[in-house]
Point group: C2
Chain length 469, copies 2
Amino acid sequence: MADYSDRHFRPDTGPFDFERGNAAVEVIFPALQAESRLGVSESGSDASLVADFTMALEVTWFDAVAPYYYPAKGIYSDLGHRPKSECNNRNKNVAVLYASYRILNDRLPHGRDDWRKMMESVGLNPDDDSEDKETPAGIGNLAARGMIEARADDGMNRLGYEGRKYHPQPYRDYTGFQPVNTAFELHDPSHWQPNVNPYGNGVFTVQHAVTPQMRLATPFTFSDPSKFKLEPPVNSDVRNIEAYRKQADEVLAASAGLTDRQKVLAELFNDKFFTLGVIAGTTALRTKPMEIGEFVQYLATVEVAIFDAAIVDWHYKALYHSVRPFSAIRYLYGDKPVTAWGGPGKGTVHDITGNEWQSYLTTPDHPEYPSVSTSLCGAYTQAARLLLGGDEINSEIHVKAGSSVVEPGITPVEDMTLSWDTWTDLSADCGMSRHWGGVHFRSAISNVSEFATQIGTRAYEFMQEHLEP
Amino acid sequence: MADYSDRHFRPDTGPFDFERGNAAVEVIFPALQAESRLGVSESGSDASLVADFTMALEVTWFDAVAPYYYPAKGIYSDLGHRPKSECNNRNKNVAVLYASYRILNDRLPHGRDDWRKMMESVGLNPDDDSEDKETPAGIGNLAARGMIEARADDGMNRLGYEGRKYHPQPYRDYTGFQPVNTAFELHDPSHWQPNVNPYGNGVFTVQHAVTPQMRLATPFTFSDPSKFKLEPPVNSDVRNIEAYRKQADEVLAASAGLTDRQKVLAELFNDKFFTLGVIAGTTALRTKPMEIGEFVQYLATVEVAIFDAAIVDWHYKALYHSVRPFSAIRYLYGDKPVTAWGGPGKGTVHDITGNEWQSYLTTPDHPEYPSVSTSLCGAYTQAARLLLGGDEINSEIHVKAGSSVVEPGITPVEDMTLSWDTWTDLSADCGMSRHWGGVHFRSAISNVSEFATQIGTRAYEFMQEHLEP
């Protein structure tokens, strides 16, 4: 039973049981919580960075258990197969733990003391760097090496040396993406404008598009993101002024009508660690019991869907570099009053100006169209649907009164239980939460299901082909 | 004996002695260290924000001890005078502590639990909010109220409501300052360009000028910052291309020639909490023993000099909005190799391009001319010189090997002791450290001493007039 209020994923279990336990859920996710947030995305809102990190971790798990699932073959390593007598949960858990240890040290080296503790807490030797294909430690280590080497130069600029020899800038854009608007002037109201956000403590910064190179990253399941169809964002073209105004007014109406449930969902689905990790994980386990090997195969499938969908998102984000609601609302209403959410604890107000309006969620630092959250949820739930054998799920999330980050101590007014009966319902809430949160127009959400579903299906098929090559 | 390596100011003392002790040094600064960094400026490099915070705290101390120094009068409150029998260190320490408690809760409310602990640690009741002019607690509380009310609307936009009713943006610019260049294009090589800085974890942001409204803040010692003379930054005018290139080449030469001492000084003087707080404080106490009242009068004088000098700095920063070295070096050298510091642990390299070059210190988020550090050091050391009666000082700072933030574990190679014999020497190092750090041209440093000295003198005279009105 996941509880969103403490943002953690800590089942109540005793010492880790290698025979019956699940190292991903019981050991790795808990160790990861604080560190990965500090190292990857504190709020969990940086979708491309979270997707890149969790892909590396969880796809490696697939490769680490492949030798125990004849005739499965890893994505980035072919480590042969172990005899049936070794294909037990203990070995799978050990392989997953060593694989994780190596990936975590590679991707989040500042957490190295925590990763050592993680291994020591279950009695494993972190210094065992053997690459023996006949031991679970060696298999885990080799799976991690395979991932690290295969994706060392996959277009994400993870090491920061693209176009430079000195002063590496990990994950910095090297494609030359430039907004046509500045934070100060909306020269072209159809297109993306970087926003000014508080850095904290009186310092403000202007947004710089995050990882535009995600569109060039190596996909798992296709070669060219432009093959997926997506209608252009016609309502964001200011020459269609009626449609332009209508979609902005929809955002204002959503802002004015925000319910506690909508606020909670907006925050919950904004946190990609929680949405794509905890919800995807706990829902699957509640829906269909799985042992460690099946579970990491499920998560790896989900991650492939997410990573590939993000590539398509960034392809179209760069192509359309479409305007966010905050710019359109300022452009349309300026100093005129609008009816909208007035800020933490203010409820709906009628005298806030268009220029003052702010979305419930902080504006993400990339162009608007399409909605990443919607497509990632659409893609992964489709993969999950195919893998788990149906749309029906058993998903329940508890949220404590006042646990909101945007309105702490205020929202929600009462403890809340969120539940979904189908992946379809969950995915629909995930998409709409971006509209309620004020960061997306409707069509950025409603137009993505076709390509997201295709990618989810491809991810499922891709992984099945590796399970039975 | 101050040690820069742990960035703290923790004298080795036992339980606080109200009769002989110094609450500022022994209680408040230690309580403040972690909190003020998190709440004001983590690295201590945001000069205007640090100056605004420390001004509020330390000028209030002056008012809190004024009733014990007949005929002194507070800057923002006239609380009468206490009989001689009450003019003891105990009462001064108590008044300073209550004044601090109120200012800290006003300015850094998220630290409220720490401020309570600070009071309880010396046996004072944090809930004593009396405003009795006859008790030290009441005097401290009233001094804080005077400061808070007098500067509620002083132009700094500290509450964030300038120009808006909703979504307050504390300290955000409301003057409409806009750079003529973007982070992507240097349209005008003479003028300021916001830089792209890592926000951490793969997110990058574009600089937004910090507190341009500092030029409009209410000064203590003058009414119009334009009355202070400062030569225009003629060498930064690209039409004077020889001078433009010469001053950029000086920055490259400094970068190529960086010594351990220069790196340490660059980092030390970049940390305004340390420079303007710890160094200013410990140097004074080592140079001339002072009881708590005299010490806080000294610090308040220093803070008035610093705050007023910053106003003049920001006036000229807005007027000239002058180019930073990184832009000029990119403009002049582009993809051509230069000889310069190559990044942490790289030493001097000969094949780094102009575009790749980075200053040893992170570029501050405001225009280049004049150097704030230089003028703040110049102004406060002049005030200190006049107050303490001479230029000679006894100043010593210890720095542990490898304690650098830029080159951790590498710089300095050996433990280092920095010492200065005169305020003049200390101030000269403070200024030159900005050139070594690569964030200032020479003339931004060499041209400020005239106005900085004038402001230091004015601060001294202003405070003397309040001591003997």
